[in-house]
């Protein structure tokens, strides 16, 4: 077995190598702001339809409301999720997952690993599934889900999804209490060791201020409405009989991020929240529907 990772980036590389060896496609992050790795089209859309699909990727995730100006050791408005999707889920998926924990240096005879009921749902994309939070010594290190519905549609075959919260996992594996102290590259790097804070602290500070005070709510609202209008128009277009689902879905993601920004600015009343979420879900359902039609026609 190769040596256990010593830095944040080698943790990622270890997971990449592990899942690559298992046969997954290793993707790069989607280039639209998303709130969670699940929203990458490689998960939300690929989970639908009959075709097999096995992929792993890192996805930067933005949660504008979680910004703490770099002052909270555990909370970030921008962080990384490691995402694995296996469709159909193989019978030994739990064992594959546990193998990945061993690969990053967790000894399963020393640490207490538990699968604790946690049914996942994401109302903005009309998705839910059954599964667990995986605990390591009392800490949630992953979310493990068997999708049952995405975009309001039943999935068949079923995709299994794994989400690792990379910063939290790294903090645990490396015994670091403050995320900004995580070794980002090799601590013995001849080019100089950098911490997570060296790389991201300025970003956390600036983005927090922008999220809470900087963005113009009127502009956000206008952009949201524009995206909302554009989605059906894009879905009405096609190229060589192929509906433009992927561009339309990117617009849904943008709308979703704009909603999160408005929410962080405190611009969404409690009573309005559900209606906004419903609007995004409807857009997502339209895309999901078209995507399934394309998959089944192909």
């Amino acid at each position: 077995m190769p040596a256990a990772p010593k830095s944040f980036q080698s943790l990622i590389l270890t997971l990449h190598n592990y899942w690559s060896e298992k046969g997954c496609v290793i993707l790069q992050p989607h280039d639209v702001e998303v709130g969670a790795g699940t929203l990458h089209p490689a998960t939300v859309l690929r989970a639908l339809g009959p075709k097999p699909w096995n992929a792993a990727y890192v996805q930067p995730s933005r949660r504008p409301g979680d910004g703490r100006y770099g002052e909270n050791p555990n909370r970030l408005q921008h962080y990384y999720q490691y995402q694995v999707i296996l469709k159909p889920n193989p019978a030994n998926m739990q064992d594959l997952y546990l193998g990945s924990l061993e690969a990053i240096g967790l000894d399963l005879r020393t640490h207490d690993i538990r699968f604790v009921e946690d049914d996942w749902e994401n109302p903005t994309v009309g998705a839910w599934g059954l599964g667990w939070e995986v605990w390591c010594d009392g800490m949630e290190v992953s979310q493990y889900t068997y999708f049952q519905q995405v975009g309001g549609l039943d999935v068949n075959p079923v995709a299994g999804e794994l989400t690792y919260g990379l910063e939290r996992l790294a903090m645990y594996v490396f015994g670091v209490d403050n995320v900004y102290d995580l070794p980002f590259n090799d601590p013995d790097s001849p080019l100089g060791a950098l911490t997570y804070g060296d790389v991201f602290l300025a970003n956390e500070r600036q983005q927090s201020e922008a999220n809470f005070h900087g963005y113009d709510v009127a502009v956000l609202k206008q952009q949201f409405e524009q995206m909302e209008e554009q989605v059906p128009l894009m879905l009405a277009r096609s190229y060589k009989n192929e509906t433009l689902v992927l561009p339309a879905y990117d617009m849904v993601l943008k709308a979703s991020h704009l909603f999160n920004l408005m929410n962080a600015r405190g611009a969404i009343a409690v009573a309005e929240r559900a209606s906004y979420i419903g609007r995004i879900r409807d857009l997502c359902k339209m895309c999901a529907q078209k995507w399934v039609e394309l998959q089944e026609a192909a």
């Binding site: 159909p88 889920n89 020393t110 207490d112 699968f115 010594d137 068949n156 079923v158």
Partner: protein, 725 residues
């Protein structure tokens, strides 16, 4: 006799579902076996994190042969009927026998091998299992709570062969996920199975897992001079999370001990599923915790303890953050937020509910000896903590946090205690509030809930009680009885009922107000009257009933509901249900008085006088009933009988002498005294019934009036007709 062993092995089953799953498996198996004509000598099921197991002892290897009688068409029925019957039964006409004009077939049914029946049974159970939530996986269609991996099924040490959606039955299972040699293990009967699992670090029986956890916890505590804070719910849950449960003691950063102990315990329990510990004989917590791991770790659990301690610290740091934020905010901003919180779509916002509780607490306060202003203030603040950060995170700390914050802000001690205790009692074993201000707010809170949901016709039915109204009613009953407050329920609920009526139509009222407020020249008094009429009209439109009738229906329903709950309570306390019924028949709505009557009656009927008087009552009552059938009984008070009829004079005098003191005793609610008065009737009633011929044509009227007078006098105390005996 052969034994059946069945194991359904899956990925991790949610802990909360395991207990019911074991029961369901047992029930379904018993039903299937019974339908096949099997009655196992013993049948037991087990549930754990990865497996449901069933063992049944004493099954035969095949069903007994059976003779079946099939009734065919009448002799001479059309040929189509005969053909249809033969086709369905798989017979030919020469196998039929004529009997009483009907064609009959007597078919010998060979008993089927048990294994075949078991195979069908398992398939039916797996496909029909009622998990609270189930799923599909991979490319299959089968549903289970999580992916089903293996089925072990052996009858008399032989595999029962079958296949369910690609899962082939066998005699193989798996042990612990991480401990042991990770090789599949073969089990051909229950003893091998249990021993094999044990050797592979799996404790099958949840009771054994619980015992192992408790024992482990106590050993750890003993070594460190600590005491476990027992928590049965948590024990159940963690016993469902580990196949080889192994308690590990960890240290908590003692600087967090300044947080309220309830916060620490709740954080430990809900987020981390840890047990709390304390120093023996001391209140508060000790800075340690016990987590129940699923492995015996190679290092004895050092890494597990350290990791869990770190997680707990970050959880408690969050809790401290909530506390700090909350004490910066305070009650008034929280209360303002209640305006935006819906209590129930038909019952308005939490802010409106608070207004009603304040008014009601003010009305109840004088009845329970509480300061009216303090009761109203406590009621106003009681729901504030619902919008605090701490209660947002830990909803079960509602009230408790309110109390802490009220004391932190230096509010009046009685007010703080009422905020803290107003949800009490939260169950049959929880204590009722006793401080007067707390009692007023606790009663107001529960009565508002009851009135509201009865008002919108959301009453409990059967096993469904989503708003916990039975618990609320029981809480009211216990608070009133255990504090000994006398008062009429109707009286308490009349005014709040009127307020609820307004709340239900709040939307229309607001609309009406908006409409009217534009018309400034309308004098206020007229405006109010207009609104009243508007509410009345809206109400009638909405319910098709006039609101007075509605209010009395709700009040009656609610009092009947209380009566029902009180009966259950009294029966639980071992009071004879017939005595409870006898007192309830009087239609009283004062709980304390009802209980006093039941107790006095119970005491009276244990005396000789009581028993005999009851017998006398029954005789008199039977005579009256028999005579009533012949025509209406004479009405009025009996005349003084002739002086020569000693028995008649005796009862007449006894009734006259009884009248005043009996009514006095009842007026003073001295029910034991009233019973003692009734006891005076025993001799005269016995003498009368033995010596006087009631149906004597000359005296019938007066004699019936006398018996009716006896029944009426006794009826002031209870309906003796409903007493058994």
């Amino acid at each position: 006799m052969p034994q059946l062993l069945l194991e359904l092995f899956s990925e991790e089953i949610p802990a909360r579902m395991q207990g019911q799953a074991a029961k369901d498996l047992e029930r379904m198996a018993r039903e299937h076996l019974a339908a096949a004509g099997f009655l196992p000598e013993a049948l037991k099921t087990f549930a754990g994190p990865r497996r449901l197991t069933l063992v049944a002892e004493g099954l035969p290897l095949a069903q007994a042969d059976r003779k079946e009688e099939l009734k065919g068409p009448r002799v001479g029925a059309p040929q189509q009927a005969m053909d249809g019957f033969l086709r369905k039964a798989g017979l030919t006409q020469d196998q039929l026998v004529e009997q009483n004009g009907v064609w009959m077939a007597f078919v010998e049914k060979k008993g089927r091998p048990t294994a075949e029946i078991i195979a069908e049974m398992v398939e039916a159970i797996v496909r029909g299992f009622a998990w609270p939530k189930s799923m599909t996986w991979g490319t299959g269609k089968l549903r289970w709570v999580r992916p089903l991996k293996r089925i072990l099924c052996v009858l008399d040490r032989e595999v029962v062969p079958f296949e369910i959606d690609g899962i082939v039955s066998g005699d193989v299972t798996e042990g612990h996920r991480f401990m042991g040699d990770a090789k599949p293990l073969v089990a051909k009967d229950f003893d091998e199975y249990v021993a094999g699992l044990e050797a592979h670090y799996v404790v099958l029986d949840v009771e054994e897992r619980k015992a192992r956890i408790l024992e482990g916890c106590k050993t750890l505590c003993f070594a460190r001079h600590l005491e476990l804070v027992e928590d049965i719910g948590l024990l159940e849950e963690v016993a469902g999370l580990a196949e080889w449960p192994t308690p590990v003691l960890g240290d908590m950063d003692p600087s967090f001990l300044d947080l309220p102990p309830e916060v620490i315990r709740t954080s430990m329990r809900t987020h981390q599923k840890y047990f709390a510990v304390r120093k023996p004989g001391q209140a508060g917590l000790a800075p340690h915790f016990i987590t129940v791991a699923n492995i015996e770790a190679k290092d004895g659990g050092k890494v597990i303890a350290a990791g869990n301690a770190k997680v707990l610290s970050s959880r408690l740091a969050d809790a401290r953050f909530f506390w700090d934020e909350d004490v910066k905010t305070g009650f008034e901003p929280w209360l303002a937020k209640l305006d935006g919180v819906t209590f129930h779509a038909k019952l308005g916002t939490m802010a409106q509910r608070v207004e009603r509780i304040v008014a009601l607490a003010g009305e109840i306060a004088p009845l329970v000896g509480a300061d009216v202003d303090k009761a109203k203030e406590a009621a106003r603040l009681a729901k504030g903590d619902l919008t605090s950060q701490m209660v947002g995170e830990f909803p079960e700390l509602q009230g408790i946090m309110g109390g802490y914050y009220a004391r932190h802000f230096g509010l009046d001690a009685e007010v703080a205690a009422a905020i803290e205790g107003h949800y009490k009692p939260q169950g049959p074993s929880d204590a009722v509030p006793t401080a007067p201000v707390s009692v007023a707010v606790a009663l107001a809170d529960k009565l508002d809930t009851l009135l509201g949901f009865f008002g919108i016709d959301e009453k409990p039915t059967g096993s469904k009680d989503p708003y916990a109204l039975r618990r609320a009613a029981l809480g009211v009953i216990r608070t009133i009885l255990e504090n000994g407050f006398p008062s009429s329920l109707f009286l308490i609920i009349a005014k709040p009922l009127a307020r609820i009526r307004v709340a239900i139509d709040f939307e229309s009222v607001r609309n009406a107000e908006a409409k009217i407020s534009g018309v400034t020249q309308i004098p206020l008094s007229v405006r109010d009257e207009f609104i009243d009429r508007f509410i009345q009209q809206k109400f009638e439109e909405a319910t098709g009933a006039d609101s007075e009738a509605w209010a009395s229906r709700v009040a009656l329903d609610l009092v009947a509901f209380f009566a029902d709950r009180l009966k259950v309570t009294l029966k639980d306390q071992g009071k004879r249900h017939d005595l409870v019924d006898a007192v309830f028949a009087l239609g009283d709505d004062d709980l304390a008085r009802i209980v006093a009557r039941v107790e006095a009656l119970d005491g009276f009927l244990k005396t000789d006088d009581g028993k005999n008087l009851l017998a006398g009552y029954k005789r008199a009552s039977n005579i009256l009933k028999a005579e009533e059938k012949k025509g209406p009984l004479p009405e009025g008070t009996p005349e003084e009988p002739a002086a020569d009829s000693a028995a008649e004079v005796g009862l007449y005098q006894a009734l006259r002498l009884l009248d005043r003191p009996l009514k006095d005793a009842l007026a003073k609610e001295d029910f034991t005294g009233a019973m003692a008065q009734l006891a005076e009737l025993r001799g005269p009633v016995d003498a009368y019934l033995d010596g006087v011929f009631v149906n004597d044509p000359e005296h019938r009227d007066n004699r019936l009036k006398t018996l009716a007078a006896v029944r009426a006098a006794m009826g002031l105390v209870a309906d003796f007709g409903l007493v058994a005996g």
